[in-house]
């Protein structure tokens, strides 16, 4: 039950994009087409789950026993950066179609603050290993959901006569604001 609450809370109530403002750059950058938004979302979810597990292990098995918590940030970002590289090589070797679908998005994920934010939040909230896993899956799916909804709206937006100054990023922000307002409705879910 606790795991379910963590999952739903990460996916909907504390949605990473719309209420915690993590991963805004890909949210603005890669939300023009539903297809690419979906691929990006899946790639992020994938890296998130692996990164969350690895950073949890590193924090609790290496940093805490040796009292090196001060190195948390340096260690986490290095792990994430090398992990993204590894995942990229692995996917290229194992599944060519998947690599072609995710290819260009993978390097971008290193500087996606949602990944580092997730690792830091899991430590901050003192989650155990399974909780971290569910937290990561929920956050990843919530990110995908927000990205796909946004892409759907933006595809329609192509046909709309937006005031000149609002074209591009500005209207995206305003739409994101209304989406965030809608997502606040999930607050009573738990």
């Amino acid at each position: 039950m606790n795991l379910l609450i963590i999952f739903i809370s990460a996916a909907l109530i504390n949605n990473f994009v719309l209420s915690q403002f993590l991963g805004i750059c890909p949210f603005v950058g890669v939300s023009k087409k539903i297809d690419s938004a979906f691929s990006m979302g899946i790639a992020v979810t994938f890296v998130m789950v692996i990164a969350a597990m690895v950073t949890w292990l590193i924090y609790h098995l290496i940093l805490v026993p040796f009292r090196l918590e001060i190195l948390e940030y340096v260690a986490f970002i290095l792990v994430i950066a090398s992990l993204v590289q590894l995942v990229e090589m692995f996917i290229r070797k194992v599944s060519k179609p998947l690599y072609d679908a995710l290819g260009i998005f993978l390097p971008l994920i290193t500087t996606n603050c949602a990944i580092l934010g997730l690792a830091l939040n899991a430590v901050l909230n003192d989650y155990n290993f399974t909780e971290t896993l569910f937290y990561a899956i929920g956050a990843g799916l919530g990110f995908t959901l927000a990205l796909v909804i946004m892409a759907g709206i933006r595809e329609e937006l192509e046909l709309v006569d937006v005031p000149h100054s609002f074209r591009g990023a500005a209207i995206t922000m305003v739409i994101a604001g209304s989406l965030a307002l809608a997502f606040m409705g999930f607050a009573g879910l738990i």
Partner: protein, 201 residues
Amino acid sequence: MKQKTAIQEFLKGLWDENPVLVSLLGLCPTLAVTVSAINGLAMGLAATFVLLCSAFLVSLLRKVIPNQVRIAAYIVIIATFVTIADRFLAAFTPDISKALGPFIPLIIVNCIILGRMEAFASKNGIGRSLLDALGMGAGFTLTLLVLSSIREILGSGTWFGLQLMWPFYAAWKVMVLPPGAFLTLGCMIAAANWINTRRRS
């Protein structure tokens, strides 16, 4: 591209190449921490500190760092200074440190900093890099300050904690909640676009 004078190097970050309003970099901290003016200011100053120190070091080491591992090297340099800034804030201003939460460590992946390292500090001398970093940092801080002031004044009726609105002012609660951040920033970007088109024509 013609060489800019020192003063132009500094000024470009304030408006023409403003990291948030024009280049749309570093949006995550911009949206997240601007609930109150003091938080926005603290975030801006912390990012400026990291930007300045990393620009200095990256520019100093630009001939030493091999090209293939430069991004990893920049990230380690940035992460080190972020740790320093984080400890400093936690020691001297615990309240602000708590309010900013994970967004201080997230300065590491702030695209503004890595972007300036890659685009500027790795190619230019120390003096110019510092000026560039100072300009970008000032542009970021000012944008954050304006955004957080709008949100705090409308959303809580206060500014830097001082009561600003009249006593019966009904605060627009939504402005301090996540949707308010998106709406305000959207309007600010639109205003910047509008001013720029007016200036050009």
